[in-house]
Point group: C2
Chain length 181, copies 2
């Protein structure tokens, strides 16, 4: 068996995942490695040791965000003023996550087989969480898959045109759901 990892290595890996997620949202998945290193407060060598290729990093962030998004659902429900506020906050996280997801296709280049399995994992994990939030908020006008799919589609082409702001449209969508309560 492989020797146990050193504590600082584990810590750095977590820091990197968080920093990369932050930078991906701010500057896209093509952001310079240096920028991610700076955000995390580590050297570039550290990134390359943990994630030999860019795809490795992007995939890791992707999985990490799916997990964060999934576990955020219940905790948002318990800390928000209303279930609908929780839904809004969760959708916001979900959009962050989509930035990475959309960059994934480019980062993986050919290897689209791995992409499909990641996509399945993402649906399995997040679908029920979304369902729980919708139910808690008493929303019956839309199915979890339909909402997630719609939000995903609204986020396409996010950086083509500065006049196009998906978050505003998504916020409108949520307003629409809220009105029907």
């Amino acid at each position: 068996m492989p020797p146990r990892k050193r504590a600082d290595a584990v810590r750095n890996e977590q820091t990197l995942l968080a920093a990369a997620a932050e930078v991906f949202v701010r500057s896209g998945v093509d952001a310079p490695i240096r920028e991610i290193a700076a955000e995390a407060g580590v050297g570039m060598g550290t990134i390359y040791r943990h994630f030999p290729t860019r795809a490795d990093l992007v995939v890791a962030v992707y999985r990490h965000q799916v997990e964060a998004c999934a576990s955020a659902g219940p905790s948002l429900l318990s800390t928000s003023d209303t279930p609908f506020d929780a839904l809004r906050a969760w959708v916001d996280l979900f959009v962050d996550f989509l930035v990475t997801k959309h960059g994934l296709a480019g980062a993986l280049q050919s290897d689209s087989s791995g992409f499909a399995s990641l996509h399945a994992y993402f649906l399995d994990r997040l679908g029920p969480v979304c369902a729980e939030l919708l139910e808690a908020a008493g929303i019956k006008d839309i199915q979890p898959y339909e909402l997630m799919r719609g939000i995903g589609n609204l986020c396409i082409g996010r950086d083509d045109d500065p006049r196009y702001d998906p978050r505003r449209l998504i916020s409108l969508l949520l307003d629409g759901l809220q009105v029907r309560l």
Copy 2:
């Protein structure tokens, strides 16, 4: 009206188109600008003056190759030993051209509206030429569109795996057509 172009500028534009086509086939559409400049025997400034963005260059090469491919059809028919030889030679040009075509999607990024019109132009221009070659060779087992589409599909993922050589497969396809004559 704009002043007439200088002779050397016209010459360089043609040289560049030819050189870029050559380099795209050899090294892909992401080839360094320097490499294209070297191939053409001009400075980098010259490329940027004629084609401000990479997409401009790729589109220009695309159109240029469609034209070359179209006009090569009849001339190959008159210079080749047999009509089938002409078809083989033409298909070879066609494959070169597809390299640029496939790179186009990436180079255009978003602007997929212009891509559609280019695609239509390409079908209109090359379909009849291909038809003429097929007819001259006495091939009735396949339609021009079907052949062009098939060759196009075989060229997908050309550089994912060095073991995959589309030209060999395409050659086999032609052998198959020849056998049925």
